[in-house]
Amino acid sequence: MISRALSRREFLRVCAGTMGAMLAAGCAPIPATPAPEEAVPEAPPAKVAVTLQFWAEGFSEWVEGRIDAYKELNPEVTVEFVTFKWGEMTPKLLTASAGGTPPDIVIQDRFRVAGWAGRGGATPLDDFVAQYNVKPEDYWSATWAEAVWAGHVYAIPFETDGRFIFWNKEIFEAEGLDPDTPPPSQDWEAMIDLAIQLTKQAADGSVDVMGFIPCQTLGYGNGGDYVYAWANGAKYMKDERTAWMDNPKLVETLQWEFDCVEAVGGIEKASEFSSGWPTVAGFSPFGAGKLAMMVNGDWNLSTFAKYYPDLKFGMAPWRMRGKEDEYTGFAGGFCWAVPAGAKQLEPTFEFLNFLNSYESHLDAGIRYQVIPCLKKAALSDELINSSPYPELRRMANESMEYANFRPVTPVAEEIQDLWTYPGTGRDWVLYGKKTPEEACKDMQEIVQKALDEYWASVGA
């Protein structure tokens, strides 16, 4: 039934394409009227009215600004934009793709690209790259890596964010520590000792000020789990077809996270401390002075400026384990992609090219205080100086040079769900249900199975 439905879908697509072409042809062409000052000898060729569908999770102000600017240059193009909350676009996009009515362009999570593209959900952008002379080396290599699958480009990196260790300078000072020296993230034992030292109990036995909690759901360290694994030299995949979730270095990482939580009072105390702070920007125990150190994203710079302007804090990259002078980082973020089955590739590519311009990247970076994937925009003085904390912003943006990226694999979602958000696998260990070895072994089983099923279904 579905194979028939597919061919029916293709049939519908052909019909729609034909209808679209007929409609386009039938539409009255909009001649470009020459302005009085310009002595144009003849009217330029008539352009056809086009409507593009653009879906994204957030970024609405930037997109609307770009659409307005684009409209002035290309009045015949109407871009219909819809925005969603993070995570809500997925069922809609899948349903629309299945039904044959995908949007023309979307803003996607970059780590999802391989899963999408690997299953035929995305339109290759090799032609776009060639036509508009897009050079991969202009982008942070970590971000470009996630946009490529099986030798084809499926996305253009848009913006990214990193993860850094933050520390509360006032607390450090009170403890007799040098507030301007970053915590010793290369020394995992020392970090535990520091966490213990900086944790203060309240009168009723619960934690009043927490020293450090390494992980996502408990410590607002969105994505920190990846950073520690990379700092330890761990890899999640051996190759395309083999996962390596039971990598001894991943086991060590989990063990360390467990030890850390145990050291500050155990999972009950830690989760008691973290409960009730919804893990979205704005609610921040760190900002309120109740968390001494945390691994979190650079977007906190603008959060702190807005909600905690008097906070004295430091921010630094996380170090490779055992190496004081080598750093590691995380590159998250979004990209633009064109779903498979999108029909109006030419106007879409043109629009994409407009979005991909230096001005657009810079505009988004300044507006949202995020790191553009285009290096030139990310390192521009204009962007750096627009930040409330320019030196920290510069450090963050420059760190993208050596940042790591999540494994580019069709099972990236499974890995992320287990490892960090919501962190089912990690929580097995933290809540004492499994040892790190068992947890990693079980995670390996799940991920490998999903990987095998993927390769089987692709027929390879």
Binding site: L6, S206, S271, E272, P422, L430, Y431, S457
Partner: protein, 299 residues
């Protein structure tokens, strides 16, 4: 003569039944039957929404048997439904009875008050309850503190996360309360009077007049309560993401992940049909038992 008249009556009733039921029958054929059959077929495939589909027979169902997290999700869901549904219905019934009392002043105001939480947008309610269930400053634990009880770390403790969500659901009983209020209107007053003449006190009146007369409504809320609770999804999706440590990993949340995050809609469809069988069985049992205690005044 009588049998011909009876047959004529039967035929006429049948005709009118189908006439009256035709809107739903048409709708069923158009909007329900196709998708249901499609999803049943898809459960026998490796449908990923994006890729060409391949028939795999009972592979998905076999995999479900081995799926440890699936078992956990079934337990979580049964726990939530098994506790939440009866508690919710009892509470709704009590509220309806209280608010139906003839001596209560300001009934309209109170009714609205009790109903409002059930109509608030779930995003707002989720934030509120994350805050209410906060172990140190949340109002629930502060309230318990008055009685000398140290409240647990609700949403952060695998043991107490489901009770926390059940507690949250209890403020949403406004809907059932409304149904019971409507049902209470339908209890003929003369039955109460007759019972009083026979010397019944309030408990007797409640047990022998009220309950039987509103039993169709109670039955409804029981059936719908279980059907709904077994498909609980939104709270855990927004508030806990299935945590902590899978304690709020409900069945439909798990299903959702397979359907949309892992591109395994075939497996998700198999999960859906398995849940379907569970709910059908449960409902069937309730209907069987219902013949014993549900009283329809119209028969």
């Amino acid at each position: 003569m009588k049998s011909i008249a009876f047959k004529g009556l039967r035929a006429r009733n049948t005709f009118w039944f189908y006439i009256f039921a035709s809107p739903w029958i048409l709708g069923f054929l158009m909007f329900n039957l196709g998708p249901m059959i499609a999803s049943l077929y898809l459960s026998l495939t490796n449908y990923s929404v994006l890729m060409p589909t391949r028939f795999v027979g009972l592979y998905n169902y076999q995999e479900m048997l081995k799926d440890k997290l699936l078992r956990i999700s079934i337990w979580n869901t049964a726990y939530y439904a098994g506790l939440g549904v009866p508690l919710g219905i009892i509470l709704a019934l009590i509220l309806a009875l209280l608010l139906n009392h003839k001596d209560l002043r300001g009934r309209s105001f109170f009714r609205s008050t009790f109903y409002v939480p059930s109509i608030m947008p779930i995003v707002a309610l989720s934030i509120l309850w994350i805050w209410l269930l906060q172990p140190r400053y949340g109002l629930i634990n502060t309230f318990l503190h008055f009685f000398g009880i140290k409240g647990p770390n609700w949403l952060g403790d695998p043991v107490w996360s489901k009770p926390g969500l059940i507690l949250m659901s209890l403020t949403g009983v406004g809907g059932n309360m409304v149904i019971f209020l409507a049902a209470l209107q339908g209890v003929p007053v003369h039955l109460y009077e007759a019972a009083e003449l026979d010397g019944a006190n309030w408990w007797n009146k409640f047990r022998h007049v009220t309950i039987p007369m509103i039993s169709p409504a109670i039955f409804f809320t029981l059936i719908m309560g279980f059907i709904g609770s077994f498909q609980v999804f939104t709270q855990s999706y927004i508030m806990t993401e299935g945590g902590p440590a899978d304690s709020t990993l409900f069945y439909v949340l798990y299903l959702y992940r397979y359907a949309f995050d892992y591109f395994k809609m075939g497996y998700a469809s198999a999960m859906a049909w398995f849940l379907f069988i569970i709910i059908v069985t449960l409902t069937f049992v309730q209907f069987r038992l219902g013949t014993r205690w549900v009283y329809y005044g119209g028969q």
